[in-house]
Amino acid sequence: MSSEKEPLFSSKNIKLITEPLGSSNPITVQVLGICSALAVTVKMKPAFVMAISVMVVLAVSNVVISLIRNYIPPRIRIIVQLVVIAAMVILVDQILKAFVYDISKQLSVFVGLIITNCILMGRLEAFAMGNKPWPSFLDGLGNAAGYSIILLIVSFFRELLGSGTIWGFKVIPESVYDFGYQNNGLMILPPMALIVVGIIIWIQRARNKKLIETK
């Protein structure tokens, strides 16, 4: 590591935030966190709150792991990462329950499910274990943002085609239904989320040829 002090928002640090939004997106490129992308994208609102919660947990655990990275014995590092994530998630859940009970009721099991999101452990293991706290913090934010974007895109299409609403508001007028249009029940079921994610991956790779594996 260079002894020279790096500016807080050097181009390298900015990249930590922008890259996960596109060319190294955790869902469409690294294909992590798929399970929760299927579960919470039926409607936009829960998807959004889930995205925010993941962002908080990922950014903070990245910083914590980065702070103690030199003291973690490599042989038990995965367990240590898991303990940090689990502790953070429980803490967030308890605080939500105490101060914003309504939101915590809406989220119900999702907060607990953050523990099983592979993006978290993926980032802790791949980035926070070998980098300083500030870049780790940015990396956490960036990856959570990349995750959030896909979540919101998927939930937008699933809510629109599956329930005829966006963010809970009706957008498809009643007259269209009178002509025989029906909400697509399949969109509500998890398999459609997988197909929508597949389509997003296809579009992204068609536009960015570098992402296509040579073999």
């Binding site: 039926v42 409607k43 490599p74 038990i76 308890q94 099991v109």
Partner: protein, 234 residues
Amino acid sequence: MKSFSNTYIFLFSSGLVIFVAALLSIAAIILQPFQKKNVEINNKQNILTSVNIETTTKNAEELFSKYIIESYVISSTGIKKEGIDAFTIDMKKELAKPIEERSLPIFISSIDNETQYIIPVYGKGLWGPIWGYVSLNNDLSTIYGANFAHKGETPGLGAEIDKKEFQSQFIGKQIFNESGLFVSVSVLKGGTANPKSKYEVDGISGGTITSKGVDQMLKDCLSSYETYFKNLNK
């Protein structure tokens, strides 16, 4: 990478676990009174929603003491049990007991000089418990309002039972048929309920197991009160 001795690994992991455990227990103890208060307010809001009164977390307690005039506990044979607070009763535990031993809470509200009887219900959804309150008119058969909640049903599917669109279907339905037999209100497959029937409502498409859970919950819980309703109506 540095290598660490076994003693260090052992001490590090113990220290970490003790630290995290202490942190979480302290957080739990500090936050518990707030959480309990929230749950209590939430219960009161649920009770009030079942008699179609809109509440916010701020005015729930005030409205509750205004509209809910009485609460007591009965046995399945319809006899009042003294000395038990209806609020402290856990429906899950009561439903696990044989019907003769159950303590059944009733809340009585008075709105526009009419009396409503509010019955707590508790049952199983797809992923976890579902519960709620059903209020009956003075005739003890017509549903005045209903409110359901759930622990973790699928959002957009089973979780829709806590929405107004689903709950308002129950208003005006009857749990006793014309000859006075207990029939409950059936929750049928989405879109198949006869709108003219007084005993059936539409379930949620894609939330079949949760809908069936609501159906079963109403039958199980309301039937425990059958004798009491009949005695009152005599």
